[in-house]
Symmetry: C2
Subunit: 200 residues, 2 copies
DNA sequence: TCGTTGCGAAACTCAGACGTATCGAAATTA
DNA sequence: TAATTTCGATACGTCTGAGTTTCGCAACGA
């Protein structure tokens, strides 16, 4: 065994360009981030923006959906570090991460797709939810449960309902709040309002 | 003036079929309700489902967007009657209306479009938001303001934030809650959880 | 050097949908 | 009855984009 890379013998011939592959995925995400729906997304537009031939795309993915699945799979959910000092601080950290992401276009992919194409591409959605939504949901759940255990939150709090309150309120702001970037103190205000409740 | 309808003389010839017009609009809404995005929506599918010729559509609307605008405009926002007895009851009434609507397909049009096509069809969205979203938002705002005035809600409550909490939490449930119909007591639970807050 | 494979570009076939035109029949007014 | 307009159906030309093929060149192993 002379030049075997991780046990797989490299076949003869010119190797596939990693640069092209990256460019294809980047362009796909860019187009989605610009608000393009999956039906409007064309392989030709992707190829053109990535500066590659359609051949190069079809050699790697057999159709549009496969490409999009792979492209979205590269979107990690870089959860913020949670200090664990208090529920309030951890919630603010989680919510503020959502706020920051809603500002920069790449992360808008997540929302755009999640909000719009759920019904139409179930196969895609399954993978996508597992990869991008679940980790956040889980992190939020754990913070809430820890808060109940520590006594910082009401002992009779419904965890699922609390998740809905936190995520929903933030989601509402990023979708229907005033245009432009969300104010930097939004996370804090959201969390404090939810903690305090609307009644006295 | 023998047979003038509202001052406009009826021209000679076969009159346009109101039934066809209704069927076209219904079919359009049906297809949207089934989760079809505006790009996937085809005039030919609408015509076929409505049992009319394409001619009959193009005689009335010059393109797809015009048709969709008119179709969505027929979706009223039948706000529930508000008893005014208490903020809690009024909020439950508003939220429960959302819950019921999220179950029946016709009203899913509203959500599907509102969630997904906002960026892509701004002209359409403007009319649509004004017609379908604003009235609800306004009703909610008034209930909240009345509650603050009456002392039922915290005097330092941020009205915009409260709107986000209420709508957002319900939106989250209808989009990402467990599949199937939402439980009948959901509105009550949502409102009570929001009123009480998460902390002690 | 030679064989193999990937590259971008371009041409191609095929399907779907747009929007128009035409048809005979039906509905209405004069 | 005659003129007019709409009806649903269908055929049409056009365009867009999918996915394939071909081309000459580039990059790699042997």
């Amino acid at each position: 065994m002379s030049i075997q890379e991780t046990g797989t013998a490299r076949p003869a011939g010119r190797p596939r360009s990693e640069k092209a592959e990256k460019a294809i995925i980047e362009s796909t995400l860019d187009l989605i981030a610009e608000g393009m729906g999956l039906s409007d997304l064309t392989i030709e537009a992707i190829a053109s923006r990535a500066g590659v031939g359609k051949t190069t795309i079809y050699r790697r993915w057999s159709n549009k959906e496969d490409l999009v699945v792979d492209a979205l799979a590269t979107l990690k959910a870089p959860l913020p570090p949670l200090s664990g000092a208090s529920v309030r601080e951890d919630l603010i950290a989680l919510i503020d991460a959502m706020r920051q992401e809603s500002g920069h276009s790449r992360s808008r992919c997540v929302m755009n797709i999640a909000m719009s194409e759920a019904d139409r591409y179930p196969r895609l959605m399954e993978r996508f939810v597992k990869r991008a939504i679940e980790p956040r949901r889980e992190a939020l759940r754990m913070v809430i449960e820890r808060g109940i255990a520590s006594g910082e939150l009401r002992s009779d709090l419904d965890v699922g309902m609390a998740q809905a309150m936190v995520s929903g309120t933030m989601m509402w702001h990023s979708k229907w709040g005033p245009a432009g970037d969300l104010p930097p103190d939004l996370a804090e205000r959201v969390v404090d309002a939810l903690l305090a409740g609307m009644a006295h």
